[in-house]
């Protein structure tokens, strides 16, 4: 118990003293997952919109399939992307394996189903009257769609936050695709995993606290945003 307490105190002092390695790993985690969420948002919001606004055969089945993939294991995504970008894979020539870009690709694929599915749910939540109102006020079809997405913006932003949370906290894809290379692809989760195995509980704890802290900061920012608009 005493050891744990001391480790915690040392971990906090690492954070407060802005330890170079801690800061570097944290920033990498942030930008890798931020890139993933941005790319995923650009893909998923329009895809979700297209699925929501069109009636086609098998729509329900497609949505069910998307929902099934919400809980796809991160190591399966890691394996899948690994097969594509490893030297023998179809995209092997791009030499992406064990780069930050590989982690981004893995995280994008990981959160794609959640973001798409939740975008559809968010649009479903907007009253049908909004579409009628927009059209009757002279909006074109696509303007009406953007208005509906705008009305669903809080739910969509919430979805993006959720996706970011899943991306930054996953370890399987980051480990398998990034390779946990120091000062290059080491992110918070892979670092915690490694340092714990090596017995460096202080560093692990410091990184864990930062990870939790990031989650809390995001949650607070979202709440402030939601209250302002």
């Amino acid at each position: 118990m005493q050891e744990l307490w001391e480790a915690l105190v040392q971990a906090i002092s690492l954070i407060v003293s802005l330890d170079a390695e801690v800061i570097e790993i944290s920033l990498r985690s942030l930008y890798v997952s931020a890139a993933a969420i941005l790319i995923a948002a650009v893909l998923c919001v329009p895809i979700g919109g297209i699925i929501h606004f069109h009636d086609f055969k098998g729509k329900r089945v497609l949505i069910n399939v998307i929902q099934t993939f919400y809980s796809i294991p991160t190591v399966v995504v890691g394996l899948f992307v690994f097969l594509f970008i490893s030297r023998a894979g179809p995209l092997g020539g791009l030499e992406l394996l064990f780069t930050p870009a590989a982690i981004v690709i893995g995280q994008v694929i990981l959160i794609l189903p959640v973001l798409t599915g939740m975008t559809i749910s968010a649009l479903n939540g907007v009253d049908r009257a909004v579409k009628d109102t927009a059209l009757s006020l002279g909006a074109s079809g696509s303007q009406a769609i953007w208005t509906i997405i705008g009305e669903a913006r809080f739910a969509v932003v919430g979805t993006l936050i959720l996706g970011f949370g899943r991306a930054i906290s996953e370890v399987g894809a980051a480990m398998m695709l990034g390779g946990n290379i120091r000062s290059y692809t080491r992110v918070l989760t892979t670092a915690i995993s490694l340092e714990t195995q090596r017995g460096d509980l202080v560093l692990s704890l410091a990184l864990g606290i930062i990870l939790i802290g990031i989650a809390m900061v995001i949650s607070v920012i979202v709440n402030i945003l939601l209250q302002r608009y």
């Binding site: 002279g138 074109s140 208005t147 608009y229």
Partner: protein, 363 residues
């Protein structure tokens, strides 16, 4: 061709008919009120007119353009129209942005948007509301925002679907006076639906009665109220003493209508054997203690079921083999000492008995 016209307009939900061959003609600058009970198809009709839904059959013409034509750019036509819905769907942002919306989608620049929106907020009594969140407004305020938003792009036709159905009297008055103002100032054509006959009276230049998907009568509000051409209309506008019978005999424009075994003579050209509905206005029934000798064709002996005095008037409900409601002055009720169970005579002129052929609704 009228400014806004429908030709045999039909709508269905699956195989269920919602609107049945509606032929409307509305002139430019007219306030046309569509009255009818809930479920008559009023909203369905407005949604077709605003080109939000496609009709099952029939056509809509606006200002000479066949709006239901396949080649027509629906958005272009719709931009000459505007609609206020029963439940105001305000967008989840400021009042200013709500009112600005139609200008934004039309690509106006920021400066003209600001000046036009400010002007519209002032006209609609919403000055100072610009920065408010639209979702926090009361029902009446939200409906005023919806009206301002509809009018900002200067439509030629404004549709309003039961715009005041859930509002307090003060808000109803505010909305109604704004509608009248827009109509007069911009020569705006207004089409309003309501289930409130009184509102129809107040606003309409002309009105149409929609019942069970059918436009059963259109004309000046007074015509509809005083001379309903359909027994359903008569019932809807609050006419009493509606009865069903059959013409027992007919000669020289006078018909004897048999109701519950008693004959009432009425002015009608319908042949004997025809099923008819009749109605008699309560104020056209004369009550007396003795049978009157005079011009009245019908003298019915009956018994007073109950009497209710309301200010200067008195309603007496009689049993003459069928129930009859009569309206007399409180003074004559007092003179006759009208009371429950009393023997009484009701005299009704043949011209006071309105006879309408029975219409079997196909919906």
């Amino acid at each position: 061709m009228a400014f806004l016209q429908t030709v045999n307009l039909e709508q269905r939900a699956g195989s269920k008919p919602l609107l049945k061959s509606v032929n409307l003609k509305i002139d430019k600058g007219e306030v046309f009120v569509i009255v009818g009970p809930t479920g008559a198809g009023k909203t369905t009709l407005l949604r077709l007119l605003d080109l939000l839904d496609r009709p099952y059959a029939g056509d809509i013409y606006l200002d000479g353009i066949k709006a239901t034509d396949a080649g027509v750019n629906v958005m272009e036509v719709r931009r000459r129209l505007a609609m206020v819905f029963q439940k105001p769907a305000v967008f989840n942002n400021s009042v200013f942005e709500n009112v600005a919306y139609p200008l934004r989608v039309r690509g106006f620049d920021n400066r003209s948007i600001t000046s036009r929106v400010e002007g519209m907020l002032e006209v609609t009594g919403l000055s100072g509301y610009g920065k408010r969140k639209a979702k926090t407004l009361s029902g009446g305020e939200a409906q005023r925002v919806a009206l301002a938003r509809s009018m900002i792009a200067e439509p030629q036709v404004l549709f309003m679907d039961e715009p005041t159905a859930n509002l307090d009297p003060a808000s109803v008055k505010a909305i109604e006076s704004l509608v009248v103002e827009f109509n007069q100032r911009n020569n705006l054509t207004v089409v309003i639906t309501t289930h409130d006959m009184q509102q129809g009276w107040r606003l309409a230049h002309r009105a149409g009665v929609l019942m069970q998907g059918e436009l059963v009568q259109a004309g000046k509000p007074g015509e509809i109220f005083n001379a309903p051409q359909d027994i359903r209309v008569a019932g809807f506008v609050g006419i009493k003493n509606i009865m069903r019978g059959v013409i027992a005999w007919s000669r020289t424009g006078i018909a004897g209508v048999e109701i519950n075994g008693r004959i009432i003579e009425a002015v009608s050209e319908l042949p004997s054997g025809a099923d008819v509905d009749i109605y008699i206005r309560p104020e056209e029934i004369v009550l007396s203690l003795q049978a009157l000798q005079g011009s009245a064709r019908n003298t019915l002996a009956g018994r007073v079921k109950w009497v209710r005095v309301e200010g200067p008037l008195c309603t007496a409900v009689l049993d003459c083999g069928f129930t009859l409601e009569a309206l007399v002055t409180a003074r004559s009720a007092e003179e006759m000492a009208l009371s429950e169970g009393q023997e009484i005579y009701a005299s009704i002129k043949a011209t006071a008995v309105k006879v309408l052929p029975v219409v079997e609704s196909s919906i």
